[in-house]
Symmetry: C2
Subunit: 287 residues, 2 copies
Protein backbone atom coordinates (compact mmCIF):
# COMPACT_ATOMS: atom_id res chain seq x y z
CA UNK A 1 0.00 0.00 0.00
CA UNK A 2 1.18 3.49 -0.79
CA UNK A 3 1.94 5.90 2.01
CA UNK A 4 -0.46 8.38 0.36
CA UNK A 5 -3.31 5.90 0.81
CA UNK A 6 -2.65 5.13 4.45
CA UNK A 7 -5.67 6.35 6.41
CA UNK A 8 -3.85 7.21 9.62
CA UNK A 9 -2.63 10.71 10.34
CA UNK A 10 0.11 11.80 12.67
CA UNK A 11 -0.99 13.95 15.61
CA UNK A 12 0.74 16.69 17.53
CA UNK A 13 -0.65 15.54 20.87
CA UNK A 14 -1.56 12.25 22.44
CA UNK A 15 -4.70 12.05 24.63
CA UNK A 16 -4.22 14.06 27.83
CA UNK A 17 -4.73 11.03 30.06
CA UNK A 18 -1.90 9.10 28.41
CA UNK A 19 0.98 8.90 30.89
CA UNK A 20 3.17 6.36 29.13
CA UNK A 21 5.90 7.53 26.77
CA UNK A 22 5.64 4.47 24.51
CA UNK A 23 1.90 4.90 24.03
CA UNK A 24 2.22 8.67 23.59
CA UNK A 25 4.72 8.30 20.75
CA UNK A 26 2.87 5.43 19.07
CA UNK A 27 -0.44 7.30 19.24
CA UNK A 28 1.10 10.49 17.83
CA UNK A 29 2.65 8.51 14.97
CA UNK A 30 -0.68 6.80 14.21
CA UNK A 31 0.51 3.28 15.06
CA UNK A 32 -2.00 2.61 17.84
CA UNK A 33 -5.25 4.05 19.19
CA UNK A 34 -6.06 4.27 22.87
CA UNK A 35 -9.45 2.74 23.72
CA UNK A 36 -9.12 3.17 27.49
CA UNK A 37 -6.37 2.87 30.11
CA UNK A 38 -4.32 -0.20 29.28
CA UNK A 39 -6.34 -1.06 26.17
CA UNK A 40 -5.02 -0.16 22.72
CA UNK A 41 -6.07 -0.95 19.16
CA UNK A 42 -3.48 -1.46 16.43
CA UNK A 43 -3.74 0.71 13.33
CA UNK A 44 -2.22 -0.37 9.97
CA UNK A 45 1.38 0.62 10.75
CA UNK A 46 1.26 -0.76 14.29
CA UNK A 47 -0.23 -4.03 13.05
CA UNK A 48 2.49 -4.33 10.40
CA UNK A 49 5.17 -4.10 13.09
CA UNK A 50 3.31 -6.57 15.28
CA UNK A 51 3.07 -9.06 12.41
CA UNK A 52 6.77 -8.77 11.65
CA UNK A 53 7.59 -9.53 15.27
CA UNK A 54 5.11 -12.42 15.21
CA UNK A 55 6.79 -13.86 12.12
CA UNK A 56 10.22 -13.78 13.79
CA UNK A 57 8.86 -15.50 16.89
CA UNK A 58 6.89 -18.06 14.89
CA UNK A 59 9.97 -19.06 12.88
CA UNK A 60 12.03 -19.73 16.02
CA UNK A 61 9.21 -21.61 17.74
CA UNK A 62 8.74 -23.80 14.67
CA UNK A 63 12.51 -24.37 14.50
CA UNK A 64 12.50 -26.02 17.95
CA UNK A 65 9.49 -28.16 17.01
CA UNK A 66 6.75 -26.00 18.51
CA UNK A 67 3.33 -26.61 16.96
CA UNK A 68 1.06 -23.60 16.71
CA UNK A 69 -2.44 -23.73 18.12
CA UNK A 70 -5.12 -21.18 19.00
CA UNK A 71 -6.88 -21.60 22.35
CA UNK A 72 -10.13 -20.01 23.41
CA UNK A 73 -10.21 -16.92 25.62
CA UNK A 74 -13.38 -18.02 27.43
CA UNK A 75 -12.42 -20.27 30.32
CA UNK A 76 -14.41 -22.70 32.45
CA UNK A 77 -14.53 -22.27 36.20
CA UNK A 78 -14.44 -26.03 36.94
CA UNK A 79 -11.16 -26.48 35.07
CA UNK A 80 -9.34 -23.73 36.99
CA UNK A 81 -10.73 -24.88 40.31
CA UNK A 82 -8.86 -28.17 39.84
CA UNK A 83 -5.54 -26.31 39.92
CA UNK A 84 -6.71 -23.82 42.57
CA UNK A 85 -6.40 -20.84 40.24
CA UNK A 86 -10.05 -19.78 39.89
CA UNK A 87 -10.38 -17.75 43.08
CA UNK A 88 -9.75 -13.99 42.85
CA UNK A 89 -7.82 -14.34 46.09
CA UNK A 90 -5.28 -16.60 44.41
CA UNK A 91 -5.21 -14.92 40.97
CA UNK A 92 -5.68 -11.19 41.28
CA UNK A 93 -6.06 -10.26 37.60
CA UNK A 94 -8.96 -12.33 36.27
CA UNK A 95 -11.61 -10.74 34.11
CA UNK A 96 -14.75 -12.76 34.77
CA UNK A 97 -17.99 -12.89 32.81
CA UNK A 98 -21.17 -14.99 32.68
CA UNK A 99 -23.19 -17.02 30.25
CA UNK A 100 -26.88 -16.10 29.94
CA UNK A 101 -27.71 -18.96 32.30
CA UNK A 102 -25.46 -17.35 34.98
CA UNK A 103 -22.60 -19.87 34.58
CA UNK A 104 -19.40 -18.03 35.47
CA UNK A 105 -16.57 -17.88 32.94
CA UNK A 106 -13.12 -16.29 32.98
CA UNK A 107 -11.05 -14.66 30.22
CA UNK A 108 -7.70 -16.42 29.81
CA UNK A 109 -4.81 -14.52 31.44
CA UNK A 110 -2.63 -17.56 30.64
CA UNK A 111 -3.35 -21.02 29.23
CA UNK A 112 -1.62 -23.79 31.21
CA UNK A 113 -4.92 -25.33 32.31
CA UNK A 114 -6.77 -25.64 28.99
CA UNK A 115 -3.63 -26.78 27.18
CA UNK A 116 -2.82 -29.46 29.77
CA UNK A 117 -6.41 -30.68 29.64
CA UNK A 118 -6.52 -30.94 25.87
CA UNK A 119 -3.22 -32.83 25.82
CA UNK A 120 -4.98 -35.67 27.65
CA UNK A 121 -6.56 -36.52 24.28
CA UNK A 122 -3.19 -36.59 22.53
CA UNK A 123 -0.50 -37.78 24.96
CA UNK A 124 -0.91 -41.47 25.69
CA UNK A 125 2.53 -42.99 25.72
CA UNK A 126 6.19 -42.05 26.22
CA UNK A 127 6.37 -42.25 22.41
CA UNK A 128 4.26 -39.09 22.18
CA UNK A 129 6.87 -37.12 24.16
CA UNK A 130 8.52 -34.67 24.14
CA UNK A 131 6.16 -32.23 22.44
CA UNK A 132 5.55 -28.54 22.56
CA UNK A 133 2.74 -26.27 21.43
CA UNK A 134 2.55 -22.51 21.30
CA UNK A 135 0.06 -19.75 20.64
CA UNK A 136 0.28 -16.11 19.68
CA UNK A 137 -2.94 -14.56 20.88
CA UNK A 138 -4.69 -12.13 23.15
CA UNK A 139 -4.42 -12.45 26.94
CA UNK A 140 -6.69 -10.51 29.29
CA UNK A 141 -5.32 -9.26 32.60
CA UNK A 142 -7.32 -7.10 34.94
CA UNK A 143 -4.45 -4.88 36.09
CA UNK A 144 -5.40 -2.44 38.85
CA UNK A 145 -3.18 0.25 37.39
CA UNK A 146 -2.37 0.45 33.70
CA UNK A 147 0.08 3.25 33.25
CA UNK A 148 2.75 1.59 31.12
CA UNK A 149 1.15 1.86 27.69
CA UNK A 150 1.56 -1.23 25.56
CA UNK A 151 4.23 -2.60 27.93
CA UNK A 152 1.64 -3.79 30.46
CA UNK A 153 -1.83 -3.74 28.99
CA UNK A 154 -5.13 -5.17 30.13
CA UNK A 155 -5.46 -6.88 26.76
CA UNK A 156 -2.35 -7.75 24.79
CA UNK A 157 -0.87 -10.18 22.32
CA UNK A 158 1.42 -12.77 23.89
CA UNK A 159 3.34 -15.77 22.63
CA UNK A 160 3.40 -18.66 25.04
CA UNK A 161 5.01 -22.00 24.41
CA UNK A 162 4.28 -24.99 26.63
CA UNK A 163 6.36 -28.14 26.57
CA UNK A 164 5.65 -31.65 27.79
CA UNK A 165 8.49 -34.06 28.56
CA UNK A 166 8.62 -37.57 29.95
CA UNK A 167 11.16 -36.82 32.67
CA UNK A 168 13.39 -34.10 34.07
CA UNK A 169 16.27 -34.96 31.77
CA UNK A 170 14.15 -34.59 28.64
CA UNK A 171 12.71 -31.39 30.05
CA UNK A 172 16.18 -29.94 30.75
CA UNK A 173 17.21 -30.52 27.13
CA UNK A 174 14.14 -28.72 25.81
CA UNK A 175 14.57 -25.92 28.35
CA UNK A 176 18.02 -25.16 26.93
CA UNK A 177 16.69 -25.25 23.36
CA UNK A 178 13.95 -22.80 24.28
CA UNK A 179 16.46 -20.51 25.99
CA UNK A 180 18.52 -20.37 22.80
CA UNK A 181 15.45 -19.75 20.65
CA UNK A 182 14.52 -16.76 22.83
CA UNK A 183 18.03 -15.36 22.55
CA UNK A 184 17.79 -15.64 18.75
CA UNK A 185 14.46 -13.82 18.75
CA UNK A 186 15.84 -10.85 20.69
CA UNK A 187 18.86 -10.78 18.37
CA UNK A 188 16.59 -10.78 15.30
CA UNK A 189 14.40 -7.92 16.49
CA UNK A 190 17.52 -5.88 17.25
CA UNK A 191 17.34 -6.05 21.06
CA UNK A 192 20.09 -8.64 21.50
CA UNK A 193 22.78 -6.27 22.75
CA UNK A 194 20.60 -4.86 25.50
CA UNK A 195 18.84 -8.07 26.48
CA UNK A 196 20.13 -10.19 29.33
CA UNK A 197 19.29 -13.61 30.65
CA UNK A 198 18.35 -12.92 34.25
CA UNK A 199 18.11 -15.32 37.14
CA UNK A 200 14.89 -14.52 38.96
CA UNK A 201 12.51 -15.97 41.47
CA UNK A 202 10.32 -18.73 40.10
CA UNK A 203 7.28 -17.21 41.78
CA UNK A 204 4.72 -19.80 42.82
CA UNK A 205 6.06 -22.36 40.34
CA UNK A 206 9.69 -23.08 41.12
CA UNK A 207 12.65 -21.72 43.07
CA UNK A 208 14.22 -19.91 40.12
CA UNK A 209 13.25 -18.94 36.61
CA UNK A 210 15.06 -17.35 33.71
CA UNK A 211 13.85 -13.99 32.61
CA UNK A 212 14.88 -12.08 29.51
CA UNK A 213 15.23 -8.44 30.43
CA UNK A 214 16.00 -5.54 28.12
CA UNK A 215 17.81 -2.57 29.62
CA UNK A 216 15.80 0.63 29.25
CA UNK A 217 15.08 3.63 31.47
CA UNK A 218 11.36 2.82 31.03
CA UNK A 219 11.85 -0.57 32.73
CA UNK A 220 9.91 -1.45 35.87
CA UNK A 221 12.45 -4.05 37.05
CA UNK A 222 15.92 -3.63 38.49
CA UNK A 223 18.59 -6.10 37.40
CA UNK A 224 22.23 -6.54 38.41
CA UNK A 225 24.37 -7.28 35.37
CA UNK A 226 27.64 -9.12 35.87
CA UNK A 227 30.49 -6.90 34.64
CA UNK A 228 32.46 -10.00 33.61
CA UNK A 229 29.84 -11.76 31.46
CA UNK A 230 26.33 -10.98 30.24
CA UNK A 231 24.35 -12.82 32.93
CA UNK A 232 22.21 -10.75 35.26
CA UNK A 233 20.34 -11.31 38.51
CA UNK A 234 16.96 -9.83 39.36
CA UNK A 235 17.00 -7.46 42.31
CA UNK A 236 14.40 -9.59 44.12
CA UNK A 237 16.96 -12.38 44.67
CA UNK A 238 20.26 -10.46 44.28
CA UNK A 239 21.04 -10.71 47.97
CA UNK A 240 21.56 -14.48 47.55
CA UNK A 241 24.31 -13.89 44.98
CA UNK A 242 26.01 -10.77 46.31
CA UNK A 243 28.57 -12.70 48.33
CA UNK A 244 29.04 -15.72 46.02
CA UNK A 245 29.41 -13.71 42.82
CA UNK A 246 28.19 -14.51 39.32
CA UNK A 247 27.13 -18.16 38.93
CA UNK A 248 28.50 -18.20 35.36
CA UNK A 249 31.91 -16.51 35.56
CA UNK A 250 32.43 -15.98 39.29
CA UNK A 251 32.77 -12.20 38.82
CA UNK A 252 31.92 -10.07 41.85
CA UNK A 253 31.19 -6.76 40.13
CA UNK A 254 27.61 -6.07 39.09
CA UNK A 255 26.05 -3.01 37.47
CA UNK A 256 22.53 -2.08 38.47
CA UNK A 257 20.19 -1.18 35.59
CA UNK A 258 16.49 -0.59 34.96
CA UNK A 259 15.07 -3.20 32.62
CA UNK A 260 11.83 -4.50 31.18
CA UNK A 261 10.94 -8.18 31.15
CA UNK A 262 10.52 -9.25 27.53
CA UNK A 263 10.20 -12.99 28.10
CA UNK A 264 10.72 -15.74 30.60
CA UNK A 265 10.99 -19.48 30.91
CA UNK A 266 10.30 -21.65 33.90
CA UNK A 267 10.01 -25.22 34.97
CA UNK A 268 6.48 -26.17 35.99
CA UNK A 269 7.18 -29.80 36.88
CA UNK A 270 3.90 -31.58 37.53
CA UNK A 271 2.15 -28.44 38.82
CA UNK A 272 -0.57 -28.76 36.14
CA UNK A 273 -0.29 -32.31 34.83
CA UNK A 274 -0.93 -33.77 38.28
CA UNK A 275 -4.17 -31.99 39.31
CA UNK A 276 -5.50 -32.37 35.74
CA UNK A 277 -4.58 -36.06 35.48
CA UNK A 278 -2.29 -35.90 32.46
CA UNK A 279 -0.21 -39.08 32.54
CA UNK A 280 1.39 -41.39 29.99
CA UNK A 281 2.36 -45.03 29.72
CA UNK A 282 6.05 -45.33 30.36
CA UNK A 283 8.41 -47.45 28.24
CA UNK A 284 8.86 -50.12 30.88
CA UNK A 285 5.07 -50.52 31.23
CA UNK A 286 4.32 -50.42 27.52
CA UNK A 287 3.76 -54.15 27.07
CA UNK B 1 6.26 -30.23 9.79
CA UNK B 2 6.10 -33.97 9.23
CA UNK B 3 2.86 -35.83 9.77
CA UNK B 4 4.74 -38.18 12.12
CA UNK B 5 5.56 -35.24 14.40
CA UNK B 6 2.05 -33.81 14.58
CA UNK B 7 0.93 -34.09 18.20
CA UNK B 8 -2.78 -34.51 17.53
CA UNK B 9 -4.39 -37.91 17.30
CA UNK B 10 -7.57 -38.91 15.60
CA UNK B 11 -10.34 -40.19 17.87
CA UNK B 12 -13.10 -42.70 17.34
CA UNK B 13 -15.62 -40.64 19.29
CA UNK B 14 -16.32 -36.98 19.86
CA UNK B 15 -17.39 -35.82 23.36
CA UNK B 16 -20.86 -37.16 24.19
CA UNK B 17 -22.33 -33.67 24.59
CA UNK B 18 -21.33 -32.61 21.08
CA UNK B 19 -24.50 -32.32 19.00
CA UNK B 20 -23.10 -30.63 15.91
CA UNK B 21 -21.89 -32.70 12.97
CA UNK B 22 -19.18 -30.18 11.96
CA UNK B 23 -17.69 -30.11 15.44
CA UNK B 24 -17.97 -33.88 15.83
CA UNK B 25 -16.00 -34.54 12.65
CA UNK B 26 -13.40 -31.84 13.33
CA UNK B 27 -12.85 -33.09 16.89
CA UNK B 28 -12.51 -36.71 15.75
CA UNK B 29 -9.97 -35.67 13.12
CA UNK B 30 -7.99 -33.63 15.67
CA UNK B 31 -8.58 -30.25 14.01
CA UNK B 32 -10.33 -28.61 16.97
CA UNK B 33 -10.83 -29.18 20.69
CA UNK B 34 -14.07 -28.48 22.49
CA UNK B 35 -13.60 -26.28 25.56
CA UNK B 36 -17.32 -25.94 26.35
CA UNK B 37 -20.57 -25.53 24.40
CA UNK B 38 -19.92 -23.07 21.57
CA UNK B 39 -16.25 -22.59 22.46
CA UNK B 40 -13.55 -24.42 20.51
CA UNK B 41 -9.76 -24.25 20.37
CA UNK B 42 -7.90 -24.75 17.11
CA UNK B 43 -5.26 -27.48 16.99
CA UNK B 44 -2.38 -27.39 14.45
CA UNK B 45 -4.36 -28.76 11.48
CA UNK B 46 -7.43 -26.64 12.22
CA UNK B 47 -5.30 -23.54 12.60
CA UNK B 48 -3.58 -24.24 9.28
CA UNK B 49 -6.96 -24.31 7.52
CA UNK B 50 -8.06 -21.16 9.32
CA UNK B 51 -4.88 -19.35 8.25
CA UNK B 52 -5.34 -20.39 4.63
CA UNK B 53 -8.87 -19.00 4.65
CA UNK B 54 -7.61 -15.83 6.34
CA UNK B 55 -4.97 -15.38 3.64
CA UNK B 56 -7.59 -15.65 0.88
CA UNK B 57 -9.82 -13.11 2.59
CA UNK B 58 -6.93 -10.75 3.38
CA UNK B 59 -5.80 -10.72 -0.26
CA UNK B 60 -9.28 -9.73 -1.50
CA UNK B 61 -9.74 -7.09 1.19
CA UNK B 62 -6.36 -5.57 0.34
CA UNK B 63 -7.25 -5.65 -3.36
CA UNK B 64 -10.23 -3.32 -2.81
CA UNK B 65 -8.10 -0.98 -0.69
CA UNK B 66 -9.03 -2.28 2.76
CA UNK B 67 -6.42 -1.50 5.44
CA UNK B 68 -5.99 -4.10 8.15
CA UNK B 69 -6.25 -3.10 11.79
CA UNK B 70 -6.67 -4.95 15.10
CA UNK B 71 -9.21 -3.52 17.55
CA UNK B 72 -9.48 -4.32 21.22
CA UNK B 73 -12.03 -6.80 22.55
CA UNK B 74 -12.59 -4.85 25.78
CA UNK B 75 -15.25 -2.20 25.16
CA UNK B 76 -16.25 0.91 27.07
CA UNK B 77 -19.81 1.32 28.26
CA UNK B 78 -19.94 5.08 27.57
CA UNK B 79 -19.11 4.59 23.89
CA UNK B 80 -21.88 2.06 23.27
CA UNK B 81 -24.41 4.10 25.21
CA UNK B 82 -24.01 6.86 22.61
CA UNK B 83 -25.39 4.55 19.93
CA UNK B 84 -27.90 2.93 22.27
CA UNK B 85 -26.29 -0.50 22.00
CA UNK B 86 -25.04 -1.02 25.56
CA UNK B 87 -28.25 -2.24 27.15
CA UNK B 88 -28.83 -6.00 27.29
CA UNK B 89 -32.41 -5.28 26.28
CA UNK B 90 -31.21 -3.86 22.97
CA UNK B 91 -28.28 -6.22 22.35
CA UNK B 92 -29.03 -9.69 23.66
CA UNK B 93 -25.62 -11.30 23.25
CA UNK B 94 -23.15 -9.14 25.17
CA UNK B 95 -20.57 -10.71 27.42
CA UNK B 96 -19.94 -8.12 30.14
CA UNK B 97 -17.10 -7.91 32.63
CA UNK B 98 -15.67 -5.41 35.13
CA UNK B 99 -12.44 -3.64 35.95
CA UNK B 100 -11.19 -4.02 39.53
CA UNK B 101 -12.71 -0.61 40.32
CA UNK B 102 -16.17 -1.95 39.27
CA UNK B 103 -16.23 -0.07 35.92
CA UNK B 104 -18.34 -2.17 33.55
CA UNK B 105 -16.83 -3.30 30.25
CA UNK B 106 -18.16 -5.37 27.36
CA UNK B 107 -16.46 -7.86 25.04
CA UNK B 108 -16.81 -6.80 21.40
CA UNK B 109 -19.52 -8.72 19.53
CA UNK B 110 -18.94 -6.32 16.61
CA UNK B 111 -16.84 -3.17 16.17
CA UNK B 112 -18.78 -0.36 14.47
CA UNK B 113 -18.56 1.88 17.53
CA UNK B 114 -14.83 1.79 18.33
CA UNK B 115 -13.91 1.99 14.65
CA UNK B 116 -16.15 4.98 14.00
CA UNK B 117 -14.76 6.72 17.06
CA UNK B 118 -11.14 6.19 16.12
CA UNK B 119 -11.80 7.44 12.60
CA UNK B 120 -12.54 10.86 14.13
CA UNK B 121 -8.76 11.21 14.53
CA UNK B 122 -8.13 10.37 10.88
CA UNK B 123 -11.03 11.60 8.76
CA UNK B 124 -11.00 15.39 8.53
CA UNK B 125 -11.80 16.30 4.97
CA UNK B 126 -13.55 14.92 1.86
CA UNK B 127 -9.98 14.26 0.65
CA UNK B 128 -9.64 11.49 3.26
CA UNK B 129 -12.60 9.62 1.75
CA UNK B 130 -13.45 6.98 0.72
CA UNK B 131 -11.56 4.66 3.01
CA UNK B 132 -12.05 1.21 4.41
CA UNK B 133 -10.51 -0.78 7.24
CA UNK B 134 -10.94 -4.40 8.19
CA UNK B 135 -10.01 -6.79 10.94
CA UNK B 136 -9.75 -10.55 11.28
CA UNK B 137 -10.16 -11.26 14.94
CA UNK B 138 -12.15 -12.84 17.72
CA UNK B 139 -15.74 -11.76 18.42
CA UNK B 140 -17.56 -12.78 21.58
CA UNK B 141 -21.29 -13.48 21.46
CA UNK B 142 -23.24 -14.72 24.42
CA UNK B 143 -25.53 -17.08 22.50
CA UNK B 144 -28.24 -18.68 24.66
CA UNK B 145 -27.96 -21.93 22.77
CA UNK B 146 -24.77 -23.05 21.07
CA UNK B 147 -25.55 -26.25 19.22
CA UNK B 148 -24.08 -25.55 15.79
CA UNK B 149 -20.41 -26.28 16.45
CA UNK B 150 -18.04 -23.82 14.83
CA UNK B 151 -20.86 -22.42 12.66
CA UNK B 152 -22.26 -20.32 15.50
CA UNK B 153 -19.85 -20.13 18.38
CA UNK B 154 -19.68 -17.98 21.49
CA UNK B 155 -16.16 -17.00 20.53
CA UNK B 156 -15.10 -17.08 16.90
CA UNK B 157 -12.83 -15.50 14.34
CA UNK B 158 -14.59 -13.03 12.04
CA UNK B 159 -13.49 -10.74 9.25
CA UNK B 160 -15.33 -7.43 9.21
CA UNK B 161 -14.68 -4.60 6.80
CA UNK B 162 -16.06 -1.13 7.45
CA UNK B 163 -16.13 1.55 4.77
CA UNK B 164 -16.51 5.33 5.02
CA UNK B 165 -17.70 7.36 2.04
CA UNK B 166 -18.51 11.02 1.53
CA UNK B 167 -21.94 10.47 0.03
CA UNK B 168 -24.38 7.80 -1.12
CA UNK B 169 -22.93 7.68 -4.62
CA UNK B 170 -19.41 6.99 -3.38
CA UNK B 171 -20.81 4.42 -0.96
CA UNK B 172 -22.74 2.63 -3.72
CA UNK B 173 -19.55 2.25 -5.77
CA UNK B 174 -17.68 0.72 -2.86
CA UNK B 175 -20.64 -1.52 -1.99
CA UNK B 176 -20.48 -3.11 -5.44
CA UNK B 177 -16.70 -3.57 -5.15
CA UNK B 178 -17.13 -5.30 -1.80
CA UNK B 179 -19.86 -7.54 -3.22
CA UNK B 180 -17.50 -8.69 -5.98
CA UNK B 181 -14.65 -9.26 -3.50
CA UNK B 182 -16.89 -11.52 -1.42
CA UNK B 183 -17.91 -13.50 -4.49
CA UNK B 184 -14.22 -14.01 -5.33
CA UNK B 185 -13.51 -15.23 -1.79
CA UNK B 186 -16.22 -17.88 -1.95
CA UNK B 187 -14.97 -18.93 -5.39
CA UNK B 188 -11.40 -19.24 -4.07
CA UNK B 189 -12.32 -21.39 -1.09
CA UNK B 190 -14.32 -23.69 -3.37
CA UNK B 191 -17.81 -22.68 -2.24
CA UNK B 192 -18.64 -20.52 -5.26
CA UNK B 193 -21.00 -22.97 -6.96
CA UNK B 194 -23.16 -23.40 -3.88
CA UNK B 195 -23.03 -19.80 -2.64
CA UNK B 196 -25.76 -17.34 -3.56
CA UNK B 197 -26.19 -13.63 -3.15
CA UNK B 198 -29.42 -13.37 -1.19
CA UNK B 199 -31.67 -10.39 -0.71
CA UNK B 200 -32.54 -10.27 2.97
CA UNK B 201 -33.96 -7.93 5.55
CA UNK B 202 -31.55 -5.20 6.65
CA UNK B 203 -32.49 -5.82 10.27
CA UNK B 204 -32.28 -2.71 12.39
CA UNK B 205 -29.94 -0.96 9.93
CA UNK B 206 -31.66 -0.70 6.55
CA UNK B 207 -34.59 -2.09 4.59
CA UNK B 208 -32.57 -4.72 2.73
CA UNK B 209 -29.14 -6.25 2.94
CA UNK B 210 -27.21 -8.69 0.82
CA UNK B 211 -26.33 -11.97 2.40
CA UNK B 212 -24.04 -14.64 1.03
CA UNK B 213 -25.59 -18.02 1.71
CA UNK B 214 -24.11 -21.42 1.00
CA UNK B 215 -26.55 -24.25 0.33
CA UNK B 216 -26.11 -27.08 2.83
CA UNK B 217 -28.46 -29.39 4.72
CA UNK B 218 -26.81 -28.11 7.94
CA UNK B 219 -28.02 -24.56 7.21
CA UNK B 220 -30.23 -22.74 9.67
CA UNK B 221 -31.69 -20.38 7.03
CA UNK B 222 -34.16 -21.03 4.22
CA UNK B 223 -33.54 -19.30 0.91
CA UNK B 224 -35.52 -19.24 -2.34
CA UNK B 225 -33.18 -19.52 -5.32
CA UNK B 226 -34.35 -18.17 -8.66
CA UNK B 227 -34.40 -21.00 -11.20
CA UNK B 228 -33.53 -18.55 -13.99
CA UNK B 229 -30.44 -16.91 -12.48
CA UNK B 230 -28.36 -17.36 -9.31
CA UNK B 231 -29.99 -14.69 -7.13
CA UNK B 232 -31.86 -15.84 -4.06
CA UNK B 233 -34.28 -14.32 -1.56
CA UNK B 234 -34.31 -15.02 2.15
CA UNK B 235 -37.46 -16.69 3.41
CA UNK B 236 -38.04 -13.82 5.85
CA UNK B 237 -38.89 -11.42 2.99
CA UNK B 238 -39.80 -13.87 0.22
CA UNK B 239 -43.48 -12.95 0.37
CA UNK B 240 -42.67 -9.50 -1.03
CA UNK B 241 -41.16 -11.07 -4.17
CA UNK B 242 -43.40 -14.06 -4.75
CA UNK B 243 -45.77 -12.20 -7.04
CA UNK B 244 -43.26 -9.85 -8.73
CA UNK B 245 -40.68 -12.51 -9.51
CA UNK B 246 -36.90 -12.31 -9.45
CA UNK B 247 -35.65 -8.70 -9.33
CA UNK B 248 -32.68 -9.64 -11.56
CA UNK B 249 -34.17 -11.79 -14.35
CA UNK B 250 -37.91 -11.59 -13.74
CA UNK B 251 -38.19 -15.38 -13.38
CA UNK B 252 -41.09 -16.65 -11.29
CA UNK B 253 -39.81 -20.10 -10.38
CA UNK B 254 -37.84 -20.40 -7.12
CA UNK B 255 -36.34 -23.45 -5.43
CA UNK B 256 -36.37 -23.56 -1.65
CA UNK B 257 -33.10 -24.68 -0.02
CA UNK B 258 -31.50 -24.80 3.42
CA UNK B 259 -28.45 -22.57 3.57
CA UNK B 260 -25.91 -21.10 5.96
CA UNK B 261 -25.02 -17.42 6.00
CA UNK B 262 -21.32 -17.11 5.19
CA UNK B 263 -21.17 -13.33 4.85
CA UNK B 264 -23.24 -10.23 4.42
CA UNK B 265 -23.01 -6.59 3.45
CA UNK B 266 -25.25 -3.73 4.42
CA UNK B 267 -25.60 -0.01 4.21
CA UNK B 268 -25.34 1.69 7.59
CA UNK B 269 -25.79 5.26 6.38
CA UNK B 270 -25.14 7.63 9.28
CA UNK B 271 -26.32 5.13 11.91
CA UNK B 272 -22.93 5.32 13.70
CA UNK B 273 -21.21 8.43 12.32
CA UNK B 274 -24.05 10.66 13.54
CA UNK B 275 -24.29 9.68 17.23
CA UNK B 276 -20.51 9.50 17.47
CA UNK B 277 -19.94 12.85 15.74
CA UNK B 278 -17.82 11.68 12.81
CA UNK B 279 -18.02 14.44 10.20
CA UNK B 280 -15.74 15.87 7.51
CA UNK B 281 -15.20 19.17 5.74
CA UNK B 282 -16.88 19.01 2.35
CA UNK B 283 -15.24 20.20 -0.89
CA UNK B 284 -17.43 23.25 -1.18
CA UNK B 285 -16.60 24.33 2.40
CA UNK B 286 -12.90 23.58 2.17
CA UNK B 287 -11.73 27.17 1.67
Amino acid sequence: MRQSQLFTKTRKEAPKDEVSKNAELLIRAGFIHKEMAGVYSYLPLGLKVLKKIEAIIRAEMNAIGGQEIFLSSLQEKALWEKTNRWSDEVVDNWFKTKLKNETELGLGFTHEEPLTRLMKDHIKSYRDLPLSAYQIQTKFRNEIRAKSGIMRGREFLMKDLYSFSKDEKEHALFYEKAKKAYTKIFDSVGLGEKTHIVIASGGSFSKYSHEFQTVTPAGEDIIHICAGCKLAINKEIFIEYQGKGCPDCGGKKFNEEKAVEVGNIFTLGTRFSEPLGLTYIDEKDQN
